[in-house]
């Protein structure tokens, strides 16, 4: 399948701070790619470089056949991490305006805006001012504004942040619909569950470096399965079970513990179950669990995806002042 986006050895340096290091990956046309990593891992910097909002210190980017995102900006839809629209505009006007900037005739933009607002359940809000809308409603409007021109490539920076579970579900459906219509979607998030449900492919980023690129299943396969055991269990006895590589307490309440026992690579878990019964361990529940993307991330990077790597982020933003020379 042809690549809609190719990053080849991309690095970004802000003064003395290395935000992104030697990053390479591809996103195939018509697929959904999750760009995953903790806050401050370099996701936003990378997305801005893809869009051409800031130059890469080194490396090559090709998007929709162009060597600079700015050359194909009309074919790209972008939802930034920090969202906002003109407070005194109505949703229809705002959507038509941003569609117009992407080359969509204003009248057509207004027509599509009304249709899409209806589809998103915002029909009643069409004539209200943006400042009168709830945060979730405003976020939906901004999302519509970023795709009203029917872009071939959609970049969404932390699209799920700030949305309640209901709206998150709606957004997932919308992303699937975009891909079904042939658009390529690249979205960044630090919440692995969304990526797990949506993505054809994920790229894991930690401390500015790529930790993994592949499908969700391939990512999961990098992490061993684990056992979840419940009962009056002794930590040392569980750790001594065959195939178990490590144990951690998930819950400990009134002597009823829930333990998570990691399995060594290649271990199935049945040996451990058999041994537990033979040694008379008080096991009330025993479950072999597949690793999640979250587990895979920890296994691959040693970091936790909910950690904040943005300590140096301010320095990165300070470094933006160096971007004037474009």
């Amino acid at each position: 399948m042809a690549a809609a986006l190719t990053l080849d050895g991309i690095s970004k340096r802000y003064g003395g701070f290395q935000a992104v290091s030697d990053l390479s990956f591809e996103v195939e046309k018509g697929t959904i790619c999750g760009f995953l990593g903790p806050n401050g891992a370099g996701k936003t910097s990378t997305l801005r470089m893809i869009l051409g909002l800031q130059p890469a210190t080194s490396g090559r980017i090709e998007i929709l056949g162009a060597d600079d995102g700015r050359k194909v900006r009309d074919r790209i839809g972008f939802l930034p991490e920090e969202r906002g629209l003109y407070k005194k505009m109505t949703p229809v006007d705002a959507i038509a305006f941003f569609g117009g900037l992407k080359g969509l005739p204003v009248a057509e933009g207004r027509k599509r805006a009304r249709e899409m607002l209806e589809q998103m359940g915002l029909g009643d809000a069409q004539k209200k001012k943006m400042k009168e809308l709830s945060k979730g409603m405003a976020q939906k409007v901004q999302l519509i504004a970023s795709v009203v021109h029917r872009p071939e490539f959609v970049i969404l920076d932390e699209p799920f942040s700030g949305l309640d579970p209901m709206n998150q579900q709606g957004l997932e459906a919308m992303i699937r619909a975009l891909a079904a219509d042939g658009a390529t979607v690249l979205f960044s998030t630090h919440v692995m569950q969304h990526a797990e449900r949506l993505c054809d492919k994920v790229v894991l980023l930690a401390r500015g470096r790529k930790a993994f690129e592949g499908t969700v299943d391939q990512a999961r396969a990098t992490s061993p399965r684990f056992l979840e055991l419940e009962g009056a269990l002794d930590l040392a006895a569980v750790a001594a079970l065959p195939g178990v590589s490590g144990v951690e307490v998930l819950n400990d309440h009134d002597g009823a513990r829930i333990l998570r026992a990691g399995l060594a690579q290649g271990a199935g878990g049945q040996e451990a179950l058999k041994s537990a019964f033979l040694t008379g361990l008080d096991v009330r529940r025993f479950q072999i669990k597949e690793p999640t993307l979250h587990d895979a991330f920890i296994a691959l990077t040693g970091d936790h995806p909910d950690d904040d790597q943005s300590v140096a982020r301010d320095a990165a933003h300070d470094g933006l002042k160096a971007e004037a020379a474009r």
């Binding site: 801005r48 900006r73 972008f78 900037l101 933006l320």
Partner: protein
């Protein structure tokens, strides 16, 4: 639609669709009209004071009659002056002077007739100004009472609500002679109202003057004639349009230049400030990043500058239109003179160029500062010094009226940031063409530099969280570390 035009249209409509914009647009001419009308309304609303003169001077001094005459003369002067002022907008200063002369020599009614001839529109609607005081006959019981406490007690009564029906007075003036010179004790109903006090003081001074002249053997008719004398003064200058005598028309360009300088200053600063606030709003609402993903920084900056320029132009056309209509209606000759001043020697073109250059250099600078700021407080670090510098041309412009070729005015008019204002004020006085052209070239080169500087700063500021100060701003411009 082209991105730049789309951004310009949004920028324009964002303000033009608000009620506040139209209110503030109309506020300036409205307050201007009110500013002119309020003194007239106040003079009409001021009550006419009823004043009784009681003569306590030695019998035969004729002090009361002299003061009465002086007060009436003063009133007549006010009426004649009102005739002259009414004539000037329509008939010019010369016409006003003719009306005054006729009124002084032939009487008030002849003056009104002259006004109707010289300025038919003003004459048709003219009403004599309301007198500030009228002289009432002194109450008989006050005159009959013994001078001193008894009269004072009665004066108190006639100034209060206890006065007999229809005989309440605003002031009672006891005229006397103190050490041989005219003096008075003024009882007034309101302690804070000094209108009667001032009128009586002036009248007493006038009476004293006449008495002194009379004592020196000077004929009162000679004194009156001397008072009416107004010298015929003609001013000549080789730079006058006639080549000799200076007329009001010769002074008009300088006045127009100063007015245009001030208007340009306020329009440019208002426009640039609108742009600053607009960019700050987009920055604080996180809109700039979305805009930058849809249009280049140049397109955004150009669109915004263009949109606010159209807004400024709307203000200029509205103010100019209303001012022009008002001036044509009130003083068509002056309107014609101002029109011919603007159309002469390419002044209108110069003014337009100064406006374009001035707006461009300040608008882009303010927009670039706005790109770093989310609140006006953020912008203060840079805006404070810039605003202080911007007050310099306001001072220099006033110098340009009297001495347009003073070295300081010349130099300031050639410094690009001040050129749009100071050269606008100076241009009507006919500076050498080379200086105007040089100033225009310098201004547009500087404006181009500002566009380049601001473009770089805008791009950097739009995506930056860095705190704005001179160092960070210049760092963004340099694109260095």
């Amino acid at each position: 639609m082209n991105r730049t035009l789309l951004i310009a249209r949004r920028e324009y409509m964002a303000y033009a669709k608000t009620v506040g914009f139209w209110l503030s647009l109309l506020a300036f001419p409205l307050f201007g009209a009110l500013g002119g009308a309020i003194p007239i309304l106040m003079s009409h609303a001021e009550p006419t004071r009823s004043v009784a003169l009681v003569d306590e001077a030695p019998t035969g001094s004729g002090l009361a009659a002299a003061v009465r005459q002086s007060l009436e003369n003063e009133q007549a002067k006010g009426d004649i002056n009102a005739l002259r002022m009414a004539a000037i907008p329509e008939a010019g200063v010369a016409g006003g002077d003719r009306v005054r002369q006729i009124a002084e020599t032939q009487g008030y009614e002849a003056g009104v007739a002259a006004l109707k001839r010289e300025a038919p529109r003003a004459g048709a609607g003219f009403t004599a100004p309301k007198p500030s005081l009228t002289l009432a006959a002194p109450p008989a019981e006050i005159v009959a009472a013994a001078p001193g406490e008894a009269r004072d007690a009665l004066a108190r009564r006639y100034l209060s609500d206890e006065a007999p029906d229809g005989q309440k007075l605003s002031a009672v003036v006891f005229l006397t002679e103190i050490e041989g010179q005219p003096g008075a004790r003024v009882w007034t109903a309101r302690a804070t109202d000094d209108a009667v006090e001032n009128a009586v003081r002036d009248a007493l001074k006038d009476v004293n003057r006449r008495q002194v002249f009379a004592a020196s053997g000077i004929d009162p008719a000679v004194v009156a004639q001397t008072d009416r004398f107004r010298p015929e003064l003609a001013v000549f200058s080789p730079k006058a349009a006639s080549g000799g005598e200076v007329s009001f028309r010769d002074k008009l360009p300088t006045v127009v230049g100063l007015a245009v300088g001030f208007i340009l200053w306020s329009l440019i600063i208002t426009g640039a400030s609108i742009l600053l606030n607009s960019v700050m709003e987009e920055k604080s609402n996180k809109i700039l990043e979305v805009l930058l993903s849809s249009a280049s920084a140049t397109e955004i900056l150009t669109g915004k500058v263009l949109g606010v320029a159209l807004l400024t132009l709307t203000v200029l056309v509205a103010w100019g239109g209303l001012g022009g209509i008002g001036l044509i209606a009130a003083a068509p000759d002056m309107a014609g003179d101002i029109g011919s001043v603007l159309m002469s020697n390419g002044l209108l073109i110069y003014f337009l160029l100064f406006m374009v250059g001035g707006y461009l250099m300040y608008a882009v600078l303010f927009a670039a500062i706005g790109a770093f700021c989310e609140t006006p407080r953020d912008a203060q670090t840079l805006m404070g010094p810039i605003m202080m510098v911007l007050f310099v041309p306001l001072i220099v412009m006033q110098m340009a009226i009297r001495t347009p070729d003073a070295t300081v005015v010349k130099v300031m008019s050639l410094i690009p940031p001040f050129t749009p204002f100071v050269m606008a004020a100076r241009a009507p006085s006919g500076p050498p063409l080379i200086e105007i052209i040089g100033a225009l070239i310098g201004m547009f080169l500087f404006a181009a530099l500002m566009v380049w500087v601001a473009g770089r700063a805008f791009r950097a500021g739009a995506l930056s969280d860095v705190k704005l100060n001179w160092k960070s701003f210049l760092g963004a411009v340099r694109g260095g570390s």
